[in-house]
Symmetry: C5
Subunit: 223 residues, 5 copies
């Protein structure tokens, strides 16, 4: 499971329109190839963040396949003018605290995905397993009051800088804001070491997410 955040060099937008169009087609082609057999979702962060423009969420059983996608993407014109300011590698696994967790991210079904890397304090891990289980139930119970907000937690221990990557999906930002504010007063919140950066990601097709980069229309046959 991989969250790849991409930021275009502003100089890219100074290239001629037809060059940019080629660049976007190359990028979209690499995505289409991977999406044939794997989950790939695109999101725009134009207007929600200043340090990233586009996010790709990809999933494969084999890390080699994720690597391969990024090798191919790097050959696209887009990546010849872009950096990757944030990158989160993670794996799915069953939760110790709930059996409602999903191992697969569903194909796009909501307007927004809210993503953040997550690290708990070491004091959390010093609690015994039952105590952690008890504390998590309050957290989970509060989440259930918001049935329209979907949660996907993946695991990064030893693989990347964070312990978890948390992704909430919903059509309703105000309701999600409300949930997160209420979660602050739960006991489990005292054991959070880091939950930033926090990304508001707007669900889009790959093509629309690319078009959002420069407002140029992408040719119909690609869409």
């Amino acid at each position: 499971m991989k969250y790849t955040f991409i930021k275009l060099d502003p100089a890219w937008r100074r290239l001629e329109a037809h060059v940019r169009l080629d660049h976007k087609r190359e990028f979209a082609a690499a995505c289409a190839d991977f999406a044939d057999g794997h989950l790939l979702r695109a999101f725009s962060t134009v207007g929600t963040r200043g340090d990233t423009d586009l996010m790709l969420l990809t999933q494969a059983r084999n890390l080699g396949r994720i690597h391969e996608l990024h090798v191919v993407l790097a050959q696209s014109g887009i990546m010849k003018w872009a950096s990757v300011p944030y990158s989160y590698l993670a794996m799915t696994k069953p939760s110790e605290y709930s059996d409602e967790s999903r191992l697969e991210v569903r194909p796009a079904h909501a307007k927004y995905l809210f993503v953040y890397p997550f690290v708990k304090t070491r004091a959390w891990y010093a609690l015994d397993a039952k105590e952690r289980w008890r504390i998590m139930q309050e957290h989970i119970k509060l989440g259930r009051e918001y049935p329209d907000i979907d949660l996907n937690t993946s695991y990064s221990f030893g693989l990347d800088d964070q312990e978890f990557v948390v992704a909430f999906e919903t059509d309703d930002p105000a309701s999600f804001l409300d949930l997160v504010q209420r979660l602050r007063t739960t006991e489990s919140s005292l054991y959070t070491l880091r939950d930033t950066p926090t990304f508001t990601c707007i669900s889009a097709s790959v093509e629309r997410a690319l078009t959002a980069l420069d407002g140029e229309p992408i040719a119909a046959e690609v869409v």
Copy 2:
């Protein structure tokens, strides 16, 4: 609600005057289009900060509209030579501690806007609601001693890296400085985890804020 801080690449000021003028017109046009139906305010930070030149404060009921504005802005010459070093996404909602809070930012009425992202300690959220309410009353009471300073608090839980975006508006920086120094000695201040960066923003029309970037006159028909 979106605070977008923009920093021009110094190389932009090496372009010819007529090119820069076009760039500013494109940017102003995108703003004018959005401002027709939404709140949009511009501020200059030239001389108050070293890492940002210009701030746009925008508000829309629909996040999609904020996204759209930034897609269009990105096509202006200005954004082809600029970065966004700070970006704060937030929503308005009623305060739990006061019913004087405003859900709408008023159109420009004061010379300065002082803005900072705000995060409270987790110890704050572990207090019970009554205790938090009690502590906030001292804070609010002190604020009321400065009736010429207007406060707008918006909420970012789960949407962006901060919990709140706080914006004070006044004509009198010395009086605001005095208020903030006095707030340090209130009990609520002990629960502040982060209140920086702190921005002194000078209220301006979009055109004047753009002119401040390079001192070139903007054509009369745009203003």
Copy 3:
């Protein structure tokens, strides 16, 4: 009151000498204009810091005048090749702890200015005013043992990231080093949250501070 630290792009020194001379003249002219009626002092940090070359200290009763100076400076060739890695905005006001404090920075009278932004812990502000007064007296008394070291403290609460900007002025760095080391053992030192970055600034005329950037002689008529 404004401390503006400027770093030249190394590429600027690759420009031809006459171009650089023009750039320096433009910058010096903007300074001269402001200095006619306001305090403006220049300092070189070449050799004392790696991240900044030049510092301008300016003072005006009106923030608009500081803004205007920076708009004009931005049009000089120097600022078309420079960044502002540090920027501190502050105001003067009477001290609660001493009535010896000065509201005006004196025109240049010593060789070195030592500057740092300063933030106290929130525990400091939780002390009652008398206790804070008592603790500050030890600090002030120690300072009085160094009569050749001049202190200027300005206030940034709510205006910028720091709470204070502290500036010491002296001809004798060894004696200042000694004072700061001794201040570490005072009670007030326990309440320091941040006192870096710390800048050793070498007093100079604007022209000499500019000449230090590239070692090219500045034309006599400008000096």
Copy 4:
């Protein structure tokens, strides 16, 4: 022992294919020269990190030889377009806690290497040696439950920013993730000050790691 993480400037991928091929050949030649008599292993981080593309792990008895390799690498076209965002210098030495530790990194034998710099809290060093030994036994015992995961710890005290560089080698990321998550609940984990950044490195020949940079085939005679 040296871990050198390399990030290519995106502009490099805009060069013509034959130029990039020459650059890769120069880099590979420098590696081949060093590998004749010393351990040198290459890893790709394309797709696992956003801030680095390639990692070289090298070992020599003499630091001068490591220095010399990097001087020669710097002359390759690759390094004329690259930066080194992470660099870890370390030495091997016997462990105080286990006599199973290896002084030599084995030549490549697994698909993945997981690397992180490691710093313990000062509280750890304040424990007496027996207590530290006791605590480490739990850590070591848990590691033994994963016999297919190979650990190499090297020492950086005084040589570089971290205290240790820890490298785990395995074919099975899920099993490693499980081990690291379980290690969080051990007593020794309470004494971790820093264990990031954490790198997932994909084992490769130098040539394949270079090919992953731009997807261009490297000529057969070099491989």
Copy 5:
């Protein structure tokens, strides 16, 4: 006393060999001029760090002379393509804890210099002077077990971001590593707030340190 760490822009290595040779000669000439009457030592960090290539250690009784050297260096071709990622300004003074300390850095006599900026916790300074003296004796005694490791401590209070700059000199990195690891268990170690970045610097003539930048031979007459 000044430690200046220099990083070349990778683009510099893309210049033609004769241009680079001129750049190195200009830099070496500035160094030679200063070294006539002052201590100047050069070190290479190629292969030991990723963020710096070259370090100059200079000493003069007068800060003005250090400033002047850096003005002249800035005119060399090297500095037109370089940045100074780390810069430490300090002064020598007698130690309160030992009378073995040296006020002068000796001319080069060992292969490696290990350098780091150092800040102690405020709790250290709250101890009374006798207690600090007692704690330092254990530290000093351990150091004496390594007679081949030479220590030079200089003072930066109020002059720069750190309190001390610590430099150890030895031919034997393994023995130094051993000393630093053992020092972690001393009481004084509990009062360390910051001791990074830590630099392994390879002693070299100015010419050899410059040659290490691009592997081009420097003309015999300069050496």
